[in-house]
Amino acid sequence: MAHLTPTPVLEPGQDRTMILNMGPQHPSTHGVLRVLLEIDGETVVRLMPDIGFLHTGIEKTCEAKFYQQVVPLTDRIDYLCPMTNNLCYVLAVEKLLGLEIPPKAQWLRVLLNELTRINSHLVWLGTHAMDIGALTVFLYCFREREEVLRMFEMVSGQRMMTSYFRVGGVALEPPLGFFDRVRDFAGYFPERIDQYENLLTGNPIWLMRTKGVAKMTAEDAVALGATGPTLRGSGVDIDLRRDMPYSSYEKFQFKVPVSQDGDVFARYMCRVQELRESIGMVRQALDGMPEGAIKADAPGVVLPDREKMKTQMEALIHHFKIITEGFAVPAGEVYQAVESPRGEMGYYIVSDGTAKPYRVHMRSACFANLQTLSKMCEGHLLADVVAAIGSIDIVLGEIDR
């Protein structure tokens, strides 16, 4: 709630325009986004997003928690890609500690992150199509998303707030039958993407609502801090998974979809192709999954196995110490960025050498991407604002933190 009343933008003699208030309770704003619009007839003259309705002070809360207690908070930032946030946070802490992660844990993280990307893009595709008027796609997308959520439930016990990654590895060995289930899903999912595309990509109504709408040039996108498909839809070829690899991404083969058009359709195509690339990476992760431990050998940082706790005094002591006192992290600072489904998700963590982070800052991709909305919409029709909001794929929980 940055500003309750719109700043007066009407000047004498300009009384052709009116102020329209869209949201915060509006079905197409994907949460609680309020958009102030100055319109002249059907044309948007000025657009101003108003955010902060979901601000919960997560960055402040982190400063009062042990390092391992922050993991569940990171889920709640972006509820559509919890694993990506988990990953970014644990990678940052591992970098602060100088921890080496066993290959199996790294590959599991990649596998789950790509499933998360599929989950997130499916919600985006369903709701974006629904905003524009194609209601059926939503039902198909949520059918597959349900399956992904069930797989999350299998590994972590939770459908959405997974908290599955730990500093030093992952929480548990995946249960029996998990990999078979993922393989099954990877088998039929490409066909399902064809189904979505059959409904949309050649559909004349869809094309009219998306082609040439809400255009943005590459220069504008870079200057405004856009990342992810919002940036790649404007022709800038950068993907952190390929260009600054983390968590073994350099061992995977994938293409980075880029489109030159910079309109809603270009961003749509980028994301749909990313779905295909992601399912390919899931298959690669299944085929090449290394054997071995799922946690690093770092007794003071990683919780010991339950079995060891029952037989070894040392393990019991470590468990007790980690739970009650946390683990100290050497002083320093890191900025770790990962490619989330929405763009560059970054964690900046400052440690003062104690068991609680001195400062945790989340660089949210949507927060920066939202700034492009004015550029996309000003001078265009009011009805296209809905398409533009959908095309940058915002999650308000991540914007407001």
Binding site: L4, G52, K60, V236
Partner: protein, 165 residues
């Protein structure tokens, strides 16, 4: 993988593209450097941050053309109390660099980067909102996450976690 100690000697680091560019521009404006955990940090004089960023953005050898993030760290009660942190990314060279400006609590103000990157707008508003740092030359410096009539700046260290009651 044990941690390597941080390097803070300017002589050893002068070959890094960002350091070379900034030292070549104004050696007095570079207050210090740090290379720790594979990450480069450059401490820049408060008055020169906008110019330094514009210079790095247009560097022909390694253009840091993308502003990833702006944030702040409060070192209360130490002085200088605030560190405003800028993360730049070079899209062509895939390099990152971190710039820092130290500010005293008496006048926590620094020049805005909105004229270099319009995308700095929201980040600076957030830092203003949560830390009370003023960005001179910002077109619309108002609270962004907290309500307009909120008192205090929640991410300062002297602000209690439960808020004022």
């Amino acid at each position: 993988m044990p941690l390597a100690p941080a390097i803070t000697d300017l002589e050893q680091l002068k070959n890094h593209p960002a350091v070379a560019r900034l030292v070549g521009w104004n050696a007095a404006g570079v207050q210090g450097v740090k290379f720790d955990r594979e990450e480069m940090t450059i401490y820049v004089d408060r008055g020169g941050i906008r110019e330094a960023c514009a210079l790095l953005k247009d560097d022909p050898a390694c253009p840091f053309n993308f502003l990833s993030d702006i944030t702040c760290v409060d070192w209360y009660p130490a002085e200088p109390r605030f560190e405003v942190v800028y993360h730049l990314l070079s899209i062509p060279k895939k390099e990152r660099v971190r710039l820092k400006v130290r500010l005293h609590s008496a006048s926590p103000a620094v020049e805005s980067l909105t004229s270099v990157w319009p995308g700095a707008n929201y980040f600076e508003r957030e830092v203003f909102d949560l830390f009370g740092i003023r960005f001179t030359g910002h077109p619309y410096l108002r609270r962004i996450l907290m309500p307009e009539d909120w008192e205090g700046h929640p991410l300062r260290k002297d602000y209690p976690v439960e808020g004022y009651r």
